[in-house]
């Protein structure tokens, strides 16, 4: 599964993109974030406040309860500030 990070999430995680092998029990975005937090202090810090995190699954906005599967492109980022 490909995971993309943008803005301060990218800086805190220390990478813009990574490919991960997801444990079978992770089935939605909330589960993915919990699993990421278990991977080390950088992740723990980056994902401490999930209310500040927005999600896209395969380039469509999604909620924390959105289902995810191998092969999906998941993007995690703060609220957008374009325009």
């Amino acid at each position: 599964m490909k995971i993309l990070y943008f803005a301060w999430l990218r800086q805190r995680v220390g990478a813009g993109e990574e490919t991960v092998d997801l444990p079978e029990e992770v089935r939605n975005v909330a589960g993915l974030i919990d699993w990421l937090k278990s991977r080390g202090p950088k992740y723990e810090e980056a994902f401490r406040d999930t209310s500040a995190i927005r999600v896209a699954v395969n380039q469509e906005f999604a909620g924390l309860d959105a289902a995810i599967a191998t092969g999906d492109e998941i993007a995690l980022f703060p609220p957008m500030t374009g325009g």
């Binding site: 943008f6 380039q59 993007a75 500030t81 374009g82 325009g83």
Partner: protein, 160 residues
């Protein structure tokens, strides 16, 4: 009908001329240009860097544009959004809408810039005297976008 994400600057006059050239059905053209301000929250800004999500940005702007065309009778539309490092006074974003009549052009132009601010995956990093900081999303921007929400699920229907 057109969305561009680019590092390069753009020229309003040239863009409008290209959009309307050879057409005699357009009666009104509205445009909005966003520029980099030199102050934000009392801090002087030296520059800002815009980051975006290549692929999704084009897709979202295309969807936002399609929504505008579903709501108003538009003859031509253009969205240009820059990314990369920009300095105060630089142009960031351009929205142009053209219609037979002014009301559709003016309203849809405002709709596009309001929706774009809260739905297009861009993030701004400002360089100030105190260091670099990510711009926080503003409630007022969400409120501006929410004004255009349609009751009874019309908007979500159009987005399907």
């Amino acid at each position: 009908m057109s969305v561009r994400i680019q590092r390069e600057d753009f020229d309003l006059g040239a863009e409008v001329a290209a959009l309307t050239g050879g057409r005699t059905d357009i009666g009104g053209v509205a445009s909005f240009q966003g520029l980099v301000r030199d102050m934000a929250g009392g801090e002087r800004i030296a520059a800002m860097t815009l980051e975006h999500y290549p692929g999704m940005t084009e897709k979202m702007l295309g969807e936002i544009e399609a929504e505008a065309r579903a709501r108003w009778p538009l003859d031509a539309t253009l969205i240009v959004h820059r990314y990369g490092r920009l300095e105060p006074g630089d142009r960031i974003v351009l929205v142009v809408t053209a219609s037979a009549h002014r009301k559709a052009a003016l309203e849809s132009c405002e709709f596009l810039i309001d929706w774009l601010k809260s739905r297009a995956p861009f993030w701004k990093l400002e360089e100030t005297g105190a260091g670099a900081q990510w711009v926080a999303a503003r409630d007022s921007d969400d409120e501006a976008a929410a004004r255009w929400e349609e009751p009874s699920g019309t908007a979500s229907k159009a987005a399907e």
